[in-house]
């Protein structure tokens, strides 16, 4: 198994605190990047980072390397916490969020070409209409909700939902091929 992060998580499950420190050292910058991008506020992202590693330690025993790489598992924990916190915020869609998405889109394209796994995602995104691909990417990377996406694309929420669901199933067909 060539997944050093998965090994560290397994050691955490065995209550190895040194492994927990190594895991923090090796992965906190990535998870901070995830939290900062979605929450867009440094102090909240730092608070969330503490919660993420608390959950990682307490849930390490439930990580199953057969179901995915260690980093994928960690990022899922960080994204889920960040999105829960975002959805619990009182205010609705903010214009700032939309600006961020627009700015990041071209960079996203170039960075995605790097790894093989990412390459495949990028190929499959190319099979979607550009605005629908942008909606999926904006949701995943920036934590946009259906409400945000509907406002951004100027369509009713239900239409957005139908669009996105169709796009996701199409994406799946391509990725699983």
């Amino acid at each position: 198994m060539d997944d050093p992060i998965a090994s560290l998580i397994a050691q955490c499950a065995a209550a190895d605190r040194a492994a927990f420190r190594a895991l923090y050292r090796d992965t906190s910058a990535k998870l901070m990047g995830v939290l900062l991008r979605i929450l867009r506020e440094r102090s909240e992202a730092e608070d969330a980072l503490q919660e993420v590693y608390t959950r990682v330690w307490l849930r390490a025993g439930r990580y199953d390397p057969a179901k995915g790489r260690g980093m994928t598992w960690l990022i899922a924990i960080a994204r889920n916490l960040a999105i829960d916190r975002l959805r619990a915020r009182p205010e609705a869609a903010s214009d700032d969020a939309l600006e961020t998405v627009q700015d990041n889109a071209p960079r996203a394209e170039t960075r995605l070409i790097a790894a093989g796994e990412a390459r495949r995602v990028s190929d499959c995104f190319a099979t979607l209409e550009p605005d629908r691909a942008a909606a999926v990417r904006g949701a995943y990377l920036d934590g946009l909700s259906y409400l945000d996406l509907a406002a951004r694309h100027g369509v009713p929420l239900n239409t957005m939902r139908t669009w996105l669901r169709r796009s996701l199933l199409k994406l799946k067909e391509c990725l699983d091929r």
Binding site: L58, A76, R119, V121, L168, K172
Partner: protein, 222 residues
């Protein structure tokens, strides 16, 4: 819409994708999370979507993280019990306080010398004892079991929290029919256990959102 409606299987898969993507609102997310816990088939769909979308993870740029390890470790690994003299007793308690201190000292000694053996740490109970959870420890493992009363009402769940002095609550898990077993060292005196009522699947925010129905302080008689 000219599109044909999704089949039930497609609809489940689409819901899993929507959950992973994060587009659902708070209530829908809580519902999906509850389903992940009780429906392994749905949990599998979610895991498959997490892997599918993992290719996008490269696009999260790294950001320097401050060294929060000391704070995280203080939450997870409370230090050995502080000197009992830190606890304040009213003068009217007199000899009782002395006895309690002695008990704390004895407990601390037992905890460090004796091999791990399940021991009751605190009991979380309503005044009439109709609802009661018992927290016991076994080495670095806590076990929490309901010893009286019913589980939470349908659609709700009891969630267990631990609160270090002056810190935010940290979730230890959901209290359902099976006893909850957690890798967690014995918390020192002064730490608080609490049980709150949360929507199915647990608090969506990582902090208690519903009423706190039970509390107990480690080191104090309940």
């Amino acid at each position: 819409m000219t599109d044909a409606p999704l089949t039930p299987m497609e609809a489940d898969d689409a819901l899993a994708a929507e959950y992973v993507l994060g587009v659902l609102d708070l209530a829908e997310r809580a519902e999906a999370e509850a389903r992940i816990k009780r429906d392994p088939g749905f949990a599998g769909l979610v895991a498959a979507w997490e892997s599918r979308m993992a290719g996008l993870n490269d696009d999260f740029a790294e950001a320097p993280a401050p060294d929060l390890l000391p704070k995280i470790e203080a939450r997870l690994f409370p230090k050995a019990a502080p000197a009992p003299t830190r606890r304040r007793f009213g003068l009217n308690l007199g000899w009782l306080a002395g006895a309690a201190l002695a008990a704390v000292v004895v407990l601390a000694t037992v905890a460090t010398l004796a091999p791990p053996r399940p021991e009751t740490l605190v009991t979380l109970a309503t005044a009439d004892r109709r609802l009661s959870y018992q927290v016991s420890h076994f080495g670095d493992t806590l076990q929490v079991a309901r010893v009286a009363g019913p589980a939470a009402a349908p659609g709700q769940v009891h969630q267990l929290w631990i609160i270090a002095p002056g810190a935010s609550p940290v979730s230890l898990g959901l209290l359902e029919d099976m006893p909850l077993v957690i890798d967690y060292p014995v918390p020192p005196a002064g730490f608080v256990f609490a049980v709150s009522v949360e929507p199915e699947g647990g608090s969506p925010t990582g902090l208690p959102t519903g009423p706190v129905i039970l509390t107990a302080i480690v080191g104090e008689a309940t």
